[in-house]
Each structure stands twice: as C-alpha cells, then as structure tokens.
Symmetry: C2
Subunit: 265 residues, 2 copies
C-alpha cells in the first residue's frame, strides 16, 4: 500500500478472509494465500479437517473450537472444528470482530461447476459471506491431484480479486470461479457464465462389512444435460476460466407466477 506524505486520505488496507472446505492442510488454501497475500491483510480461518460435500451445513447441536495455528510466516491463521460456513460466521464474530472487505474460499481440489455449487462446502462458505454482505469468491481447480499445477488458478484468482477490490464490488456479490486443469498458458481467458444443468447420476455401490451387514458407498457418473454455450461446463471444456455469479435468494419467480395462475387454494 502506498502512503502519500501529508495526504489525509490514507489508502485502507483491505481485510481478506480466506477459508476452504478441504481443510488447513490442503495445498489449495496455501496457494490461494500466496496468490493474494500482498493485496491486503490476509486472515485464514479454515476447517481443521476435510469438509468436502458439507454444503451449507452449520453446527447447532455441538459447541465449536477455534485455535490459532501456523500456516505460513506472516499470515494469521486459525483452525476451526466446524464446517466451512461455521468458519465464516466465527471469523467475523470472534476473530476479526468486523466484516472483512472480501471473503475468499478455496482453492478447492476438484470442480464446483454446475449443480456441484449446491453440495460444495467451498461455495457455501462464499455464499454465507454474501448473505453477511461480504463480497466473496469461491475458487476451484479441476484437478484432484495433491501435486496439481496451481499456476493457472493462482494467476486468475489474483486477477479476479484485484478487480473485485478495485471496483468495490456490490456487497452481495458472490462468484463461483472454476479454473481448468493444466498449463496456465493454455487457458484462453475468463467467461462469465450461468450454472449448467449438469449433475451426477447416482449409483450407490453395495458392499458387505466383515460381519456380513450391507453398507453403501456413493458413486456416480457426471452427465451434462445442458448443451448451451453460456454455461460453466462449456467454458471449462473449452479451456476458459468460468465465473458464475451466485445468489442466495432461492425463490423460483417463474414458478411463483405459474402457481399463482394455475392453483386455487
């Protein structure tokens, strides 16, 4: 941050809250911190264990623990026993004691495009921030490998965060950003998209435990039912970074009109 001698308007250092759903030990969160740490005061509050698929779960039947921890030099970091959404709530109330200027979540290991947004702890943390009037972005890289190449994800994460901070984004802004796998130089750019109607067709594997009792593992095949070119799935298949603005108003207004017309009560 530059400081002009004698200037009354000092540039405020933005507070950047970072969380994820893969937990504090995941390479993704470390890469996200590295990508943006010189853009403001970074504070990390993240789950103490993997929380993938936790959606918008919150902890209401149990108390939560919060411990100061070390992630990397010069960065304040806390580990939380709860879900990604719990992390955002606790960070605001008990760590920052104020709302950050932006909340970032990720970088998730694996895609959060299409219907995945609804199951994703990474995206639910970002959505929770936007409910709290904090502009937010969830980042996901389409690569599950522990040795994944994060250069593309870091480059575009930084670019998008810089833009959001410089434009003073609307407080309800929540972006779902997915980055294609592979070499940064192969990425063609950024596309603003809608969420594709694409989802997993579930098929539970049935197994027997050593005592002969049945149990089930969730498996599934990903299917894209949406052939339009303005979706996140299309963008990613064509090596663009996909950016989907996300909302927490779940009202289906078209269906509301239809029901008002078709039904009498």
């Amino acid at each position: 941050m530059t400081k002009k001698a004698g200037s009354k308007k000092e540039k405020k250092v933005p507070i950047i809250l970072i969380t994820n759903d893969d937990g504090l030990t995941a390479p993704g969160i470390r890469n996200l911190v590295e990508a943006v740490k010189d853009l403001g005061r970074v504070v990390v509050v993240a789950p103490d264990k993997p929380q993938s698929g936790m959606g918008h779960a919150i902890t209401i039947g149990f108390p939560l623990r919060l411990h100061k921890t070390h992630l990397m030099d010069g960065v304040e970091a806390w580990s939380c026993s709860g879900t990604p959404v719990d992390c955002v709530k606790l960070a605001v109330d008990k760590v920052l004691h104020q709302k950050p200027d932006i909340c970032l979540s990720g970088i998730n290991h694996g895609a959060n495009h299409s219907i995945n947004v609804i199951y994703s702890g990474t995206m639910s943390a970002a959505i929770e921030a936007s409910i709290e009037n904090i502009p937010s972005i969830g980042f996901s890289l389409l690569d599950y490998s522990l040795e994944a190449d994060f250069n593309g994800a870091k480059k575009y994460a930084r670019l998008i965060v810089e833009k959001m901070l410089s434009k003073k984004a609307d407080k309800h802004t929540c972006l779902n950003v997915n980055i294609p796998k592979g070499d940064v130089d192969l990425i063609k750019g950024v596309r603003v998209c809608k969420q594709a109607y694409a989802k997993y067709e579930e098929d539970f594997q049935e197994r027997k435990d050593p005592g002969g009792k049945k149990y089930y593992w969730l498996t599934g095949e990903f299917k894209n039912f949406d052939k339009s070119r303005d979706t996140d799935v299309w963008a990613l298949e064509n090596n663009y970074v996909s950016v989907v603005p996300v909302q927490y108003d779940l009202t289906n207004y078209a269906m509301k009109q239809k029901i008002e017309k078709d039904y009498t009560w």
Copy 2:
C-alpha cells in the same frame, strides 16, 4: 384408489417418498405420514438421528447404512445413517428402484422461512428431489414444542399434496411450505410468496470447558430486513400458510449482466 370394472386405464397409485431432518422419532414425520397416507403408497426413508442445520450436505467420506424399521402399521419405513439429502438419493436408488411421484419432507419442528431455506436439511431434501426431477414439498411448523398442535400443518399439507398430485406438477417443482403456530381455525389461508431477506445476526457465546479451554455456541437474533408484503415472513406473521417455490439454479442473472458490462478480464 377407485377401479372401474373392465376399464383399461387403471388409476396408478402414486408413490409418495417421505423424509425429514429431525429424524425418524420426531412427531413431525409421523404427522406428515398420517396426513397423506391414503393418497398413495407411502415409503419413508429418514435419518436415524437429528440432522437439523445440515443444509445440502452429503456423505462422501464414509459409507452409509440403511435399515428397515417400524414407524407405524401399514407404512414401509427405512432408517438411514446419513443426511436428509443422502436419504433421498438412497431411497431412489436402493429402496424404490425408481423415482417416486412426489417427495415430501418434514413436518419440520420450527420455521424454514427466509434465509433458513439454505441451512435446512428438511428443505435440502426437497431441493435434492427436484434436482432429480421429482416434484417435492418441504413442510415446516412454526412450533418447536414436542407437544405442538399439528392439525393446521396436517390440513394444509394434505391440501397442497392433493393439488400437486392432481395437477401433475412440473417435475422441477419444489415448494417451501411453512405453517403458522396455533389453532387451525385461525389460519387465514395460503399465500404464494418470495423468500424474505431476513436472517439471524450471529453472536457466538464464549464459554470455558472444565479444563479451562474456550469453546463457542452458535446463538443469534432473527432480524427481518424485508418489509414487503409478498414475503414468507409477512404471510406467517399474518397467519397465512406461506408457499415459496424454490429453485436449484443459483445463477444470479442480474449480477451476470452487470459483471459482463462492468468488468473486462
């Protein structure tokens, strides 16, 4: 179901899948089954323990268990070790081996209006069904008491399910239905609404365990920032049953347009 002698078109008995997030022992699910059990073949697949606040969580790191159980005479019932969303997925794949005609979730003990829809396991089960092209309804009664009066909730649950079945509702239909607390005769009718911008302002209580270490309990005060009269909160405050159609496309289309206009990448 009536059956006409000699008629080739026999009326198909609808399959009604019922789940909840309060678990199989909650009075709410029993009341929901009682309200609709003569409208079709009711099959219950519900969590074996309370799952409130689980949102759209799914179980991906652990296997799931499913056991046949007894809820009431003449009704097939299964208990599942997973979340409400897991229950819907497992019910379709491993219990029914087909999609039901409708999926009902509840009756939840406590409100799921406004932003609660996003944290609610009850509503996430209903949303999951609609993702799977199964019309669905989540029901919630604004009364936490174990001795709550379910007469109003039962009356309106039956009315709305009958209408959905008779109209052959659109497969993506998902309704969030909340019923006011108190005497059924005081309920003024049904209002189709939008989700209010109303939410909890969180405040974690800080306590110390017997070892002197801090822990936090989530508490909060409910605040309604939305004064319009077409919201679920307004309807319930004025003793109407609120019906909000819910969608799983989280794309914020207005924000998408704005970002396409305002940002260059």
